[in-house]
Amino acid sequence: MSEREPNIHDPKKYWLDEPKNVRKVIIALFVVCAGLFVADAFYHKHPHFQAEEWFGFYAIYGFVMCVGLVLAAKLMRVFLMRDEEYYDKNE
């Protein structure tokens, strides 16, 4: 896709342009997630529901539901996606 290519010469290198820095960000995210998961052992919960007492419930729920959301949405594309001018054709 040609429009995706930089159309202006921009000599400046940004920190995130380095793949290894992007890796750093991702690793930082993994570390934070691991820390938060373990943190469940160190505080007192006041749950309304039994499920909240399970270790790491919020973390697992967040992860699983989001993956489910994206996969379901991707599936929806099969049925719902039309080209951009779909409505402009005969309106």
Partner: protein, 562 residues
């Protein structure tokens, strides 16, 4: 002054706008909501101003805890959006925006249903100009659809009010409840403006087609006015819990696959309304406080997100995820403000959504509604996914589109900066918001458990996004249109009416062709009888004529004599 509905300051004030020169106009437009805000602040709770008209008593001004919250935030939103639009010299928008904002404020302070109806329709009529101001054919058509639905909501409201008046003899706008014809009609009228599931699509259809600044204005008022009206008339209506829960969940699927980033925001606006509707349905003091506070913080962060996407559209000319990326390099401030809005809508600790949305979640849990609570939790994770990550990621990071543009104009940056400040201020110092809520607040947002669980939920959704991206499972941004309920009236109905029209046309043609044949036969017959040299049109000689006359006379004589 103390008997003036604060909404009228903006509505009447707007009329003078065209008379002022541009340089003065901008200051004047900023001043109007400031005066409005101060006026709301000076009005005492319990203020009521009535007016007799056509034998009915209209309560043109009513002030209480509920209307005050909306009065404050609507004026703040009007101020921020005027500042955002400072550079724009379009008179059409400079007049319609304050009328629209003023009408919404007027509706909030209306004490009776007739006054409410008048302002309700005024919001519809004034707001459509913010869409038409795009001045494209597409925007014109979208505006027409928007207007039909908005005015339709008003007509249903009026029908409901008339039935209500005939039944109860009162037009006071208090608790209405469903179950009666009047109640149901009013409920549906509110539901349309609140974008209930299946009645929602006008929002995603219209908002992304408005102007750069128009969408920011639109995002604040119509739907939140509907939330206010529902909270006033239908608090504790059980069905709202399920309606609201559905609203939180299903728009986020669309948001994930939508390419137009302003349309993504419209879907997430819909999802946030769901939380407020659930709060109304539960109907406890905690949940209604949650609805009011969430409406307050939502208006701010949603405006902020629409502002940042507006700035992107203003500078790059597009708002499509498939064409953007890497803009943090040239629009760093806009990027930063967008991230504040994203963090607020995602309810990160220290941002506004954290202290308001959780009240509704807690109220749902306290009511032992595990299923609804689970849906809301899913929607909370999902909103971070599509609004919190997707919006900033595809606009400002992702694959560098190579677009190098100027940073947003100073007035846009200032408007975004102020809004971002308020988002953080509410998150850090929630007492300021809690103090203006309709009921006394006995709620502590910052507990260890709440902070950690919320961070777990959010960071693991971020993890899900990252993993899906790394494995290239995440659906890429594609130029596309996704079918939603507007398909019914934009494609199906025209198709059906077109088909019916063609069938009728065919039958019509058949009948007419047949008629022509019959007519032709008839003409031919007449021709045969009366045409040239035909028996009837033949001329006769005078002698023959005389003979005929004499024969008739003779016949007559015979008859007479006999």
């Amino acid at each position: 002054m103390s008997s003036l509905n604060p909404g009228l300051i903006l509505v009447i004030g707007a009329v003078l706008v065209p008379l002022l020169p541009q340089t003065l106009r901008r200051w004047y437009l900023l001043a109007l909501p400031v005066v409005g805000f101060v006026h709301v602040h000076t009005l005492a709770d319990g203020t009521s101003v009535t007016m007799d008209m056509l034998g009915m008593t209209l309560e043109v001004l009513r002030v209480d805890g509920l209307s005050r919250v909306w009065g404050y935030i609507f004026n703040i939103a009007a101020f921020l959006s005027m500042l955002f639009a400072w550079h724009d010299k379009d008179t059409m928008q400079q007049v319609s925006a304050p009328i629209y904002a003023g009408a919404a404020i007027g509706a909030v302070f209306a004490g009776d249903l007739v006054t409410l109806f008048v302002y309700w329709e005024l919001t519809a009529i004034s707001s459509v100009f913010l869409i038409w101001a795009s001045r494209t054919k597409r925007a014109y058509k979208t505006g027409m659809r928007y207007l039909l639905i908005q005015v339709g909501s008003g007509v249903i409201l009026l029908a409901g009010v008339l039935v209500w008046y005939a039944k109860t003899g009162s037009i006071e706008f208090g608790n209405i409840g469903i179950g009666t014809l009047a109640g149901n009609l009013i409920f549906i009228a509110f539901g349309i403006k609140c974008a209930f599931p299946l009645l929602h699509n006008w929002l995603q259809d219209a908002y992304p087609e408005a102007t750069v600044t128009g969408t920011v204005v639109l995002s604040a008022f119509t739907t939140k006015l509907a939330v206010y009206a529902l909270a006033r008339g239908f608090a504790g209506t059980e069905v709202l819990i399920y309606v609201g829960a559905t609203m939180t969940a299903f728009p986020i699927f669309y948001a994930v696959i939508e390419n137009d980033l302003r349309r993504v925001l419209a879907y997430s606006l819909n999802n946030q309304l769901g939380f407020m509707v659930v709060g109304i349905g539960i109907g406890t003091e905690l949940s209604l406080n949650g609805t009011a506070s969430h409406a307050f913080s939502h208006i701010l962060y949603k405006a902020l997100l629409f502002m940042s996407m507006g700035a992107v559209l203003f500078r790059t000319g597009t708002c499509k995820g498939s064409e953007l990326g890497g803009l943090y390099k040239s629009m760093p401030w806009t990027t930063g403000f967008c991230i504040v809005g994203a963090a607020s809508i995602s309810a990160f600790p220290l941002f506004s959504g954290f202290v308001s949305k959780s009240m509704i979640m807690t109220a749902a849990a306290a009511d032992h509604r595990w299923f609804v609570w689970g849906v809301l939790l899913f929607a909370s994770a999902g909103v971070f996914h599509h609004s919190g990550i997707k919006i900033p990621y595809f606009a400002f990071f992702a694959h560098d589109s190579g677009k190098r543009v100027k940073e947003a104009p100073w007035n846009m940056l200032l408007a975004m900066g102020l809004t971002a400040f308020l988002c953080i201020f509410i998150g850090v110092y929630p007492k300021a918001l809690y103090d203006i809520l309709p009921f006394p607040v006995d709620y502590v947002p910052y507990t260890t458990a709440h902070v950690i669980t919320q961070l777990q939920l959010l960071m693991f959704s971020a993890l899900a996004f990252t993993v899906l991206m790394l494995y290239k499972i995440y659906p890429p941004e594609l130029k596309s249109t996704n079918l939603d309920t507007d398909w019914i009236y934009r494609k199906l109905l025209p198709c059906v009416t077109g088909y019916v029209g063609r069938v009728i046309g065919k039958i019509d043609r058949m009948i007419r062709e047949e008629a022509f044949v019959i007519l032709g036969d008839l003409i031919a017959m007449i021709e045969r009888q009366h045409g040239d040299r035909a028996p009837i049109s033949q001329t006769m000689h005078a002698g023959t004529m005389a003979l005929i006359v004499i024969s008739i006379l003779f016949l007559f004589l015979v008859v007479m004599l006999v």
